[in-house]
Every structure is written in structure tokens, then in C-alpha cells.
């Protein structure tokens, strides 16, 4: 009977269509000689064949379609977690090179709107929660903040301007930028490790969108109305090439300043070592990591798994553990 245990698992897999061919034949062989497993197979087939799903109520669709009318409109996230810090900076450099400084002064309204209204995502370098320990600060934050001071260019622009890269002087760390440029129009089809919903917002993303996402939302109409071909709005299909003046000097990002490992807290499986829930005060171990604001006043933080023991001993609630991932995902609720 005990030998049947593993076959019960194979039966379960088979009924889910998740059994490979080799196991199928060994299972069939076993079933021939084991009435008990055959009965189990038939029973499970009957259970799984029963229609246990129910139809969703019509209120679901109606509520969703009503709800999205007032919900914030979705925006394309151009920077994906696989784009390294260097590449991100390089992309930005290309945009600046391609679009040129005068464009930004034309967009003064958008820029100042972005500067004046604190971005909902902007708990980055300027926020009191963040300390300035250079070791633990994501390099991308530093880079993007620095650039943001200069131009406050929206990263949304990258998607539109990147497909027509001007022969800009190539910064030292440009290696991934052309690839990113090619991918940009079809960003959704780029094969990536399966990242979850929350996993999608990497620290790199957060920093990138800090000060850019929100201003884009508030200013996109203005800039579009003004007929700016270089509006930071992803809905602008393309940018006329003649709008691109000669490039000024690109922003160099020395490669050796980029710690890619730190910028890319993404696990191969898309899973996390643990999900940690924190309320109240943020433990000091996490002060240097980017906070990404969620809709409901909470924040998510991605951090290396080596912080887990410290957080556990600080009494944080830990959801589950997966030894394969180097990333922990933290949901933080200030109180």
C-alpha cells in the first residue's frame, strides 16, 4: 500500500495534465495491477470532472467598468527591472541627447508641476526616512535624482524617443541601451523572469518613477495640448526626427560606480524568500531601501534576504520562506 503513495501523486499530476511521458507509462503500468489506485484514479477524475466553479455575478463586470472610470489611468512603465542602472542612465542620456535641453525649458509647466507637487512615489533620497549611507543606497537613486535635478525628464519619454536614437556620443555604460531602445515599442513582449504584480516595482523602478510618473500624469494634457512632439506621454506615438537638435554632452555614468546586484533585487523564480509585514516604525536596517507607495497608504520594499534574520529578531511578521530566492518583499505600513 505504501508503494502506492507516489502513484497517488502521479495520478493527481496526470489529471492536471502535468505528468511527463515517462511517468505516464509507469503510472499506467501500475494502474493495471492495482485496483486500489485505479479506484482512486476514478474517484479523483469524478471529483475534478465535477463542475465546482460558479459563474461570477454580473455585478463584477459592472463594478469594475464603473470603478476604472474614476481610477487612475494606467501608465506604461518603461524601465523594467532588467534594465541596469547604467543602462537606465544611458537611456536618459540618449533622451537628453536626442531631445535637447530647449525641449525641457518649453516644458517648464510640466517640470515645475513635478517639482512642486511631491510625487507620491518620492520617498527617495530627499525623504527623511532615507539616510545617506553610500554603501546601501541604490546607485540608481543617486543617479536618477541627480539627473532629475537637471531636467526632471520623464522616463516615459524614453519609450517614444528611444526607437530613433540619434548618433549620440556613447557614454561608457551604454552597452544595454540599444537593446532597450529596440525593445521599447514592444515592451510587453520582452521575455522576462516572471515577476509578480508587486514584484514588478523594483527599487530601480521606483527611483526611476520618482518625480516622473506623477508629473507626467498631471502635465500630460498640458504638454500634449501644446503640441509638444516630445511630450512625456506614452500615448504620443512617435517623435518627429527633425525635432531633435544636436545632442549636448551626455551624462556619463562611470561603470564602476554601478552596483548592479544591489539594483536588481529580482529572483529567478519571481518569488521571494519571504514576505515581511511591518507596521509602525521602520527598522533601521531598511532605512536605506526605497519605499514604493501602494494605493492604500502602505509601502513595499524590496531588500536582500540577508536582512531577514535581523527583521525576524526585531519581531516582524514573516509570511513564508523560500530558500531559492535572494529577495525579501516587505509590506510596510506606517502608523
Amino acid at each position: 500500500m505504501n508503494g502506492c503513495n507516489e502513484f497517488r501523486e502521479l495520478i493527481s499530476c496526470r489529471l492536471d495534465g502535468e505528468l511527463d511521458a515517462a511517468d505516464v507509462s509507469s503510472l499506467e503500468k501500475h494502474l493495471e495491477g492495482c485496483p486500489s489506485c485505479r479506484s482512486y484514479y476514478e474517484l479523483l477524475s469524478a471529483v475534478l470532472g465535477a463542475e465546482t466553479k460558479v459563474e461570477p455575478p454580473p455585478a463584477l463586470l459592472a463594478g469594475v467598468m464603473e470603478g476604472i472610470k474614476t481610477a487612475p489611468r494606467p501608465k506604461r512603465n518603461v524601465l523594467r527591472p532588467v534594465i541596469t542602472v547604467a543602462a537606465a542612465a544611458a537611456c536618459l542620456a540618449i533622451v537628453i541627447a536626442a531631445v535637447g535641453v530647449p525641449k525641457f525649458t518649453e516644458r517648464n509647466d510640466a517640470v515645475s508641476a513635478g517639482g512642486a507637487a511631491p510625487s507620491q512615489y518620492n520617498l527617495g533620497a530627499s525623504a527623511p526616512l532615507r539616510t545617506t549611507s553610500p554603501e546601501n543606497t541604490y546607485p540608481v537613486s543617486a543617479a536618477s535624482d541627480e539627473i532629475a535635478e537637471d531636467s526632471d525628464v520623464s522616463y516615459n519619454m524614453i519609450a517614444e524617443s528611444a526607437p530613433e536614437p540619434e548618433p549620440a556620443p556613447e557614454p561608457p555604460a551604454l552597452k544595454s541601451a540599444p537593446a532597450a531602445a529596440e525593445e521599447a515599442p514592444q515592451e510587453d513582449s520582452v521575455p522576462l523572469p516572471p515577476v509578480g504584480f508587486d514584484g514588478g516595482s523594483k527599487p530601480a523602478d521606483a527611483s526611476a518613477s520618482a518625480g516622473s510618473t506623477a508629473p507626467a500624469a498631471s502635465s500630460s494634457n498640458d504638454t500634449r495640448a501644446a503640441g509638444g512632439g516630445a511630450a512625456p506621454d506614452t500615448r504620443t506615438p512617435e517623435m518627429p526626427a527633425e525635432d531633435m537638435p544636436e545632442s549636448p554632452a551626455a551624462l556619463p555614468v562611470p561603470e564602476d560606480e554601478v552596483d548592479e546586484e544591489k539594483a536588481l533585487f529580482i529572483s529567478p523564480t519571481g518569488g521571494y524568500r519571504a514576505i515581511v509585514h511591518i507596521r509602525g516604525e521602520l527598522p533601521e536596517e531598511l532605512l536605506d531601501y526605497d519605499l514604493i507607495e501602494l494605493d492604500d497608504g502602505r509601502f513595499e520594499i524590496f531588500a536582500p534576504a540577508e536582512l531577514l534574520p535581523a527583521l525576524e529578531s526585531a519581531g516582524c511578521e514573516v509570511d513564508y520562506q523560500d530558500e531559492e530566492s535572494d529577495v525579501i518583499y516587505i509590506v510596510y505600513k506606517p502608523e
Binding site: 500500500m1 466553479k53 469594475v64 523564480t269
Partner: protein
């Protein structure tokens, strides 16, 4: 709907065509709702969670990356909302939040001794009801994984990524959940032991149990 069609629709939504989102809702609402229903355990919460999931998916659509299928991404959103809802309602015990599962503890659920046959199964509708009732007696962990597998039709790979456990653990956990379910269904008489028929078929010869 093929992945390519879905990508087109997603792009339309991202380009400002909010109405296009309806196609995505229609395509996925059954699985989302059934997942939520099994996780939350009641229709009102399931409706609320499903709506919240779709609206959140809409607003965050830009952060969906084509690397995973849209459905897997959407189910993860739904799953997180349901867990959150249970936590807020103080019912976090409904779904075990601790990853202290019984993977590896072989034989925790005994294979039912009696042979089972679906031949005596009740009428279809009654069978469904019996299964749903039996589900409620499963451990939270088992209910959860069957919700993902059977409520949302998720593949083992997607469940593995969502729960952050390897596929082997997914397989064995699903299998144990079903063994447990089978046991409950046998014990409550939904499926009756086959002994009688076996004897009829084979006389009173050896019983290899």
C-alpha cells in the same frame, strides 16, 4: 484569447482605451471570482476582492511585464488582495500565513483503506455540493493550493512562482490535498467503499490492500 491578442488589448488599454479592459475582465472574471471565492469563503468578499483585483490590475497595468502571462499576474494580484482581506478581517487563520506546511511529512494523510468507486456517486449537482462542503474541512493550506489549481486553473509552474515554493512541493501538496479530500468524501458517504463490488467481481479471493 491568445497571448498576442491579450498583449494587443493591454496595449490598447495602456494607450487610453479604458473600454478595452472589458474584454480582459470577461476573459478572466470566472477564474478570478472562483479563486477569490475559494480563498475568502464567501460570495460578498469574493465579489469585492475580484473587483478590487481588476481595478488594481487596471491602474497598475503598466507594471505588467510580458514575461509572465497576464492571467498569472492577475491571479497573483487577486491572491494578494484576498490574503490581505482575510488579514484585515482578522481571519488570517483561514489561510495559513506561515509557511510551516507539511511538505515532506509523508503519510500524514493516509490513503483511505477502503477502495473507492465513483460508481455510487451522487447526482452531479449533489456531488458538487458534497465537494464544496468537503473543501471546507480541508486545512487552510490545502484549500489554498486547490483554489489556485482548480479555482483559477493555474499551472504548477505558476503556482510555484506565486507561492515561492518549488514545483515538486506544489505537486505533493496538491496531491495530499486531494487525498485528504478523497478521504473526507469517502467518510461522509459521497463515495462508498468498493469492497462489495470487488468481492462480487473476484469472489472472496485475496484482497491486496
Amino acid at each position: 484569447m491568445t497571448a498576442a491578442e491579450e498583449t494587443l488589448i493591454i496595449n490598447r488599454v495602456l494607450s487610453g482605451d479604458g473600454d478595452a479592459f472589458e474584454t480582459l475582465v470577461l476573459e478572466h472574471q470566472k477564474n478570478v471570482y472562483n479563486l477569490a471565492l475559494r480563498l475568502t469563503g464567501n460570495e460578498q468578499d469574493a465579489l469585492d476582492a475580484s473587483q478590487e483585483a481588476f481595478i488594481k490590475a487596471y491602474t497598475k497595468l503598466g507594471s505588467f511585464r510580458g514575461g509572465s502571462r497576464f492571467s498569472a499576474w492577475l491571479y497573483r494580484v487577486t491572491y494578494n488582495i484576498c490574503l490581505d482581506m482575510l488579514r484585515k478581517n482578522g481571519r488570517s487563520n483561514v489561510i495559513s500565513l506561515n509557511y510551516t506546511d507539511s511538505d515532506g511529512e509523508e503519510g500524514e494523510y493516509e490513503i483511505p483503506d477502503s477502495r473507492l468507486t465513483p460508481e455510487d456517486a451522487l447526482e452531479k449537482k449533489e456531488l458538487t455540493e458534497a465537494i464544496n462542503e468537503a473543501m471546507e474541512h480541508l486545512s487552510p493550506e490545502h484549500r489554498q493550493i486547490l483554489a489556485l489549481r482548480e479555482g483559477a486553473d493555474m499551472s504548477y509552474a505558476d503556482i510555484s512562482a506565486l507561492l515561492g515554493i518549488n514545483e515538486g512541493s506544489v505537486k505533493s501538496r496538491i496531491s495530499r490535498a486531494r487525498k485528504s479530500l478523497a478521504k473526507i468524501l469517502t467518510e461522509n458517504g459521497t463515495f462508498s467503499p468498493e469492497e462489495r463490488q470487488i468481492r462480487e467481481r473476484r469472489g472472496n479471493s485475496h484482497e491486496r490492500v
